[in-house]
Amino acid sequence: MAELRVETVERAVEKGNWQRFRESDFFYSFKRSPVAIVSFAVVCILVLSAVFAPLIAPTNPFDPASLNLMNGFTPPMEPNAFTGESFFMGTDDQGRDVFSTILYGMRISLFVGAAAVLFAMTLGIVLGLVSGYFGGWTETIIMRIADVQLTFPSILVAMLIFGIAKGFTPVEYRDQMAIWVLILAIGLSDWVQFARVVRGATLVEKRKEYVAAARLIGRSPWAIMVKHILPNALSPVLVIATISLALAIIAEATLSFLGVGAPPTQPSLGTLIRIGQGFLFSGEWWILFFPACTLLALALSVNLLGDWLRDALNPRLR
C-alpha cells in the first residue's frame, strides 16, 4: 500500500515537469514578451540552419568541383549572363553561392562563439568558486588579475592574446590552429564577469546553514562548491553567458574582419564581410550585404534574448 502511494507521487512529479514548466513564471513572462518570442525564433532558425548547413545549402562552397568560375559576380535572383544559373543571394568573385557561404560561415561563427563562452564560463566559475570559498591569498591574486583585465577593453585583450598565441604556434600549424587560438583568445578575454558573479554568490551562500551542514557530514570542499553552492549561483551565470555569446560572436567577427581571426580556408561571417568589403566599390553589394545582415540578426537576437532573460530571472525586477 505504502509502496503504491510512493509510486503515484513519483509519477505525478514526472508527468508534472512539462506542465510545471508551462505554468511557471518563467514561461509566462516568455509568452507575454513578443521581443523574446521573435528573437528566440530568429536564434532557433539561424542555429538550426547553421547546424544543418550541409543539408540546406544548395552547393558546398568548399568543394572546388562544385564551383564554376563563369558564375562569378551573379547578382541575387538574376540568371547569370553566361551559364543562365540563378542564385538566391548571388555569387562572389569565385562563383561561390553567397547563401551557402553564409550558412557555412555561420557554423564557424557560432562554433567559435559558443566554445569561447563555454571556455570563459568554465574558467570563470572555477576561479570564482575557488576565490569565494577559500578567500585569502588565492582570492586576492585572482581578483587582482580580474581587476587589471577589466581596465582593458576585452576586444583588445583578445587581439593581444591572439597575437601572442599565434606567435607561439609552430608555423606549419598556424592555419589549422587558428580557430582554436581564436577560441582561447576570446574565452580568456571574457572570464572576468563570470568569476565576479560566481564569487559574489559564493560569498553569500557559504555562510548559509546548508553549507555548514554539508561540511559537518564531511563532504569535500570541491563537492560542496560544485554540488551545493554552484546550483544556487547558476541563474545570473546563464544571463551573462547569453549576453557574452552575442559579444563573442561580434568579437570573432571583428577579429576575422581585421584579418587576425578565422583563416581564409574556414571563412566565418567576419571573414565574408572582409571579402565583401573589397567589392563594395565595384558595385557588387550583395557579397557584403547578406553576411553583414546575418551577423546583425544573429548578434541582435541573442542580445535581446539575453536582456529578456536578465529581466525574467531577476526576482527584484518582477
Binding site: R144, V148, T151, F152, P153, I155, L156, M159, L160, F162, G163, I164, K166, G167, F168, I250, A253, T254, F257, L258, G259, V260, I273, Q277, L280, F281, W285, L288, A292, L295, L296, A299, L300, N303
Partner: protein, 327 residues
C-alpha cells in the same frame, strides 16, 4: 591619502613588470632571435659572437632586466618585417592615430554632452525619443560595420568623402605629419572620426541624460526655478555642472578605449596609424612591433587608470570632507 597613492603606484608598477615579462618571453621564446637576424650563410663563430653581443648567453633574469632597461629607453629592437627600429616606425605612425583620436574624442564629448542635455530636457519630445532609439541601434552595431556603412553612403553612393587614407599631409617640424592643414586631410578625417567616436558619443550622451534627469529632480533645482532663474541658467549653470564628476571620470577612462578601438577604425579606412601597424604585425608575426605595442598600450591604460583613481579623490569634495573629518 599618501598610503593610498603609494599602494596604487606600486600595483601599477607590478602590472607593468608582468606585462614586460610577457613581452620579453615573446622575444625570447618565439623562434631564435639569432635565426631572425643572421641569414642562411653564417658560421658558428658568427652565431656565438652575436649571441654574446646580444647578451643571449646571460641567465634569464639578467636578460629580462636588460630588456626592461631597453624598453624604458624606448628601445624595442628592429622590426622583422621592415628592418627598421621599432621606435622609429611607431613615432612615424603616432601622429596619424593621435590626430584621429583627438578629433573623435572632441566629436564624442561635444555632441555627447549636447545631445545628453537635449534628451534630458525634452524627455517626452519626438526628437529625444528618436535620438534615444537611434543610439540603441548605434550601440549594437559593431564598429567595423558602422565604418563600412559610412563608406558606402558617403564615398560610394554620394562620393563626397574619401574612403581610405589620410589625404595630403604636411610636416610640422622634424617628425609630426599633420592632416589638419590641407583640405583633403580634413575631409579624410571626417568618416574615421565619426566611426571611432560614435560609441563613446552614445555612451556620454546616455550618461549625461541619466545624470541630468537625476539632478533635475532635486530640491535645489526647484528652488532655482522658484527664484525665477531662466531655464538656460538652471539647466547649464546649476544642473549640468553637477553632472560633471561622473562624466569626466568616464571620459578619462574612455581615452584608452578610443586608442584601442582605433585599431578597428584604422583597418577599415586603411588609416596609416599605430593600430594598423599592430594588426599587420599580428598578421606577419612581427614580434618586436607586437611587443612594443603591448608595452605602450599597457603603460597608457595603467597610467590613465592610476590618474583617474587618484584624481577622483581630489575632484569629489565629499570624499575630501570625509577624510578631513576623519583626521
Amino acid at each position: 591619502m599618501l598610503a593610498f597613492i603609494i599602494r596604487r603606484v606600486g600595483q601599477s608598477i607590478l602590472v607593468l613588470l608582468i606585462v614586460g615579462l610577457v613581452a620579453f618571453s615573446m622575444f625570447r621564446f618565439i623562434g631564435d632571435p639569432i635565426d631572425n637576424m643572421l641569414g642562411q650563410e653564417r658560421t658558428m663563430e658568427d652565431v656565438e659572437r652575436l649571441r654574446a653581443q646580444l647578451g643571449l648567453d646571460q641567465p634569464f633574469p639578467v636578460q629580462y632586466f636588460r630588456f626592461l632597461e631597453g624598453a624604458v629607453q624606448g628601445n624595442f629592437g628592429v622590426s622583422y618585417r621592415q628592418g627598421r627600429p621599432v621606435a622609429e616606425i611607431i613615432l612615424e605612425r603616432a601622429p596619424a592615430t593621435l590626430e584621429l583620436a583627438l578629433v573623435s574624442g572632441i566629436f564624442a564629448v561635444v555632441l555627447g554632452i549636447a545631445l545628453g542635455v537635449f534628451t534630458a530636457i525634452r524627455r517626452q519630445g519626438i526628437g529625444a525619443n528618436v535620438i534615444m532609439a537611434a543610439s540603441l541601434i548605434g550601440v549594437s552595431l559593431p564598429t567595423f560595420l558602422i565604418g563600412i556603412l559610412l563608406i558606402y553612403l558617403f564615398s560610394v553612393e554620394l562620393g563626397w568623402l574619401p574612403s581610405f587614407g589620410r589625404g595630403q599631409t604636411v610636416m610640422i617640424g622634424e617628425n609630426w605629419s599633420t592632416g589638419f592643414l590641407t583640405e583633403s586631410g580634413l575631409k579624410a578625417l571626417i568618416l574615421p572620426a565619426i566611426t571611432l567616436g560614435l560609441y563613446q558619443m552614445t555612451l556620454i550622451m546616455r550618461l549625461v541624460r541619466s545624470e541630468m534627469l537625476e539632478v533635475l529632480r532635486q530640491d535645489y533645482i526647484r528652488f532655482a526655478r522658484a527664484r525665477g532663474l531662466k531655464d538656460r541658467a538652471v539647466y547649464f549653470r546649476h544642473a549640468l555642472k553637477n553632472t560633471m564628476v561622473p562624466v569626466v571620470t568616464v571620459i578619462g577612462l574612455q581615452i584608452g578605449s578610443i586608442i584601442a578601438f582605433a585599431i578597428i577604425t584604422e583597418t577599415v579606412f586603411q588609416w596609416p596609424g599605430v593600430g594598423l601597424l599592430f594588426i599587420n604585425a599580428i598578421q606577419f608575426v612581427d614580434i618586436p612591433v607586437m611587443a612594443a605595442y603591448l608595452m605602450l598600450i599597457s603603460v597608457m591604460f595603467v597610467g590613465i587608470n592610476l590618474i583617474v583613481d587618484i584624481l577622483y579623490v581630489f575632484i569629489d569634495p565629499r570624499l575630501r570632507v570625509d577624510r578631513a573629518g576623519a583626521h
